[in-house]
Symmetry: C2
Subunit: 438 residues, 2 copies
């Protein structure tokens, strides 16, 4: 079918139990790191050869960071793990009855399987109606969006048609969660501080940023207070926030809202939601709202040897009757916990149930502003929240090189009111977009 | 025809003479910077929105630098130039009799035209036979090559077929000039220091780097001594240098050499040469060996108002009967000189002829080694030459941010024997390559 025609997975057999991990995201890499000293063979599969720090992807899309600084080569992670194998391969199907996974390059037997395949963009069944929108879950998507945004401004200076100009200068984002709010804030900052220097010919009063949210508030996962604060910050940036607004379709030129209104825009960022990146092979009763049901040990119900962690897993607890939020801290904690449980498992000791330690939630809204919710200590916003947001993100970013380059870029962006990274690497994005779609 | 359908160049008319510059490369940006204080209107056209520091492109292709650090937004360059306009547009044709240029988005009148369109890959009429090779003149090409190289290793670990493995592990470069030598050296370094850590499953003794050169020596533009030194350095890295070797064709799997021999390889980097990026519109007598003939003032013969500078121009002098070498220093000096002459031109003072100040030549060959030719002072190599190479390249790199990030990456690469930037961003490159071809 493709270049992988002649390829096979080819993992040598050993006496040690083979643990196969699907996905090198937050959960997958935590487990990989922690299993190092156990007597196991580890196979990590991912369709990319790098891990993506998704919380900063929006800064790649808005010209604040280079893609290489928010990603990390997965092979580097496994360098000092004696019996470990990385394969760049997409898993198509799990066959629990055979204890095998099937990929584009062949099948592989596992003794234990850990599904850490994360999440993917959720179009809520309307992918066809919104296929010209820009999702923001992967590095190439962020690069596409960056090129598209910058290319729009290049087109504006070459456009006389007022309606066309208006479409080019209107940037819509659907979804008032952290990603949507952060993209809107970053665009607000570009509008206020960065782009006017580059495009003296453009009157930026005509640049519109519209954030569309279906419910009555922003940041539904956070406190009421933080939602209101974020709304105020966005309004200060001139963002047009439309709450209680549902969308019908998008044709690349016009967004049709439910109720008849339409917004002329050549840019729609799809930040409306994610769903578990479930892999084929389980019966329907194992899937709850698009995520794989697991018990308190992250075991997929009914199997002793299959686990699911992070966004793809749903563990229903008293506190979280619908499962934990699909966020990095949950994935990290579940990954760490499962790695510890594996030690027990191999030693035939009893497993310990997972308990989420809530460290709080945060989102940033452009320059010098963020909102933070701390458990028990309430919520706050402003400059201090923004500093905390930066420190925490730097801390969780993997790799000394990445931390330093991100820190330097942030300092540069802050002090110069500029963005160093403004290359349009892919022209004619619109035409190519459909081909590139997952 | 494309997204630029509804666009026009649209430059406001003024009383000041309009200078149109085609190309934001070394020559084009020097002129743009220097014309700032003259009473002119400046229009800079480039098909990209960034300037590319081509001498470091090979480090992008070999995972040493991120693309954003060897490029610079052209608009940033023009920020403090009062009456200047940048347009991201490709010029298709020059019409000297109308004093107009024609682009995909319309025509534009000029009072003075400066052609600084640089050079493009020269296939010596065999583009069809080598369309599956990788050129290395533009940022997207460097990214393609990087992804291809890294993807090859991902495939090797999934391959059992020995012939296929051999093809994947053989990297050929055609052209023994600076680019070819630098790519071969950088691959040698990856082989020796970087990749074995990532791919413990691969026996790197089987990784072959083959440098193919048609003449009897390397670095033809430099001294005999430097050519020999470069050859020795490459041999120390285990590079198989084939001098006096001509190529016949390449089918993506096998390179057919003249004489019947063939080399099995899935990677052929085309560094065999460049040609002037000549734009249609001149009669044949104005073109000499694919470059536009200019007089000592960089004026295109027969025109008072058209100039050509840098790689695209050929100025035949006593010292350089075939024109100056197609190198950055020539472009920079011609650009600066022409900008000064424009002052004279506007003041109706006599123009001064261009004289090339030869500062020497250099090339680097992997870690800690380079060759330098200084005029009158002879040539030298080794560690000190490598340091000089780095200082000079940092000096000429545009922008504080870029300098610092490149310096940091070099230090990181040097001290860790590692490369931070190893993302395969475009999978299935081979399939997509043909579509993306210029």
């Amino acid at each position: 079918m493709d270049v992988f025609d002649k390829l096979t997975l080819h993992i040598p057999d050993t006496d040690k139990p083979r643990i196969v991990i699907i996905g090198g995201g937050f959960a997958g890499i935590e487990i990989s790191k922690k299993l190092k000293n156990l007597p196991v063979q580890l196979v990590l599969l991912d369709r990319h050869n790098y891990y993506t720090f998704i919380p900063l992807l929006y800064q790649v899309a808005t010209a604040g960071l280079e893609p290489d600084s928010v990603a990390w080569p997965l092979r580097k992670l496994m360098e000092d793990f004696p019996d470990s194998y990385f394969r760049m391969a997409k898993v198509n199907r799990i066959a629990p009855e055979e204890k095998k996974i099937y990929t584009a390059v062949g099948a592989l037997h596992y003794d234990y399987l850990i599904i850490a395949s994360g999440s993917r963009t959720n179009y809520f069944g309307m992918e066809d109606k919104f296929k010209l929108s820009f999702p923001l879950k992967r590095v190439p998507q962020a690069l596409d969006l960056r090129s598209h945004i910058l290319q729009n401004f290049e087109k504006v200076v070459m456009t006389q048609d007022e309606e066309e100009k208006n479409k080019l200068l209107t940037f819509c984002i659907v979804g008032g969660g952290p990603t949507g709010v952060e993209v809107a804030g970053a665009l607000g900052e570009l509008k206020q501080h960065v782009l006017p220097k580059d495009y003296p010919e453009i009157d930026f009063a005509f640049m519109r940023i519209v954030l569309i949210e279906g419910t009555g508030r922003l940041l539904n996962g956070m406190s009421e207070k933080s939602g209101k604060r974020a709304l105020q910050y966005l309004k200060d940036f001139g963002v047009d926030v439309r709450l209680n607004t549902m969308m019908d379709s998008y044709n690349g030129q016009e967004i049709f809202l439910k109720g008849g209104e339409k917004i002329q825009s050549q840019t729609l960022v799809w930040a409306a939601g994610v769903q578990g990146n479930v892999i084929d092979g389980f019966s329907e009763d194992k899937i709850i709202k698009g995520r794989i049901a697991v018990d308190a040990y992250n075991r997929v119900a009914g199997y002793e040897d299959i686990f699911a962690v992070g966004d793809v897993a749903v563990m229903r607890t008293e506190h979280f009757p619908n499962g934990h939020p699909m966020l990095a801290p949950v994935a990290i904690q579940q990954g760490k916990h499962l790695a510890k449980n594996f030690k027990n498992l191999l030693e035939k000791a009893p497993l310990k149930p997972f308990k989420y330690f809530d460290k709080g939630y945060m989102a940033t809204i452009g320059r010098k502003r963020a909102v933070v919710d701390l458990p028990k200590r309430g919520s706050f916003g402003g400059f201090f929240a923004w500093l905390i947001w930066m420190v925490i993100h730097l801390f969780f970013l993997i790799g000394f090189r990445n931390k330093l380059i991100v820190l330097f870029n942030w300092a540069y962006n802050y002090f110069t009111y500029d963005r160093g990274i403004r290359l349009i690497i892919r022209t004619f994005i619109n035409e190519e977009k459909n081909k590139k779609k997952e």
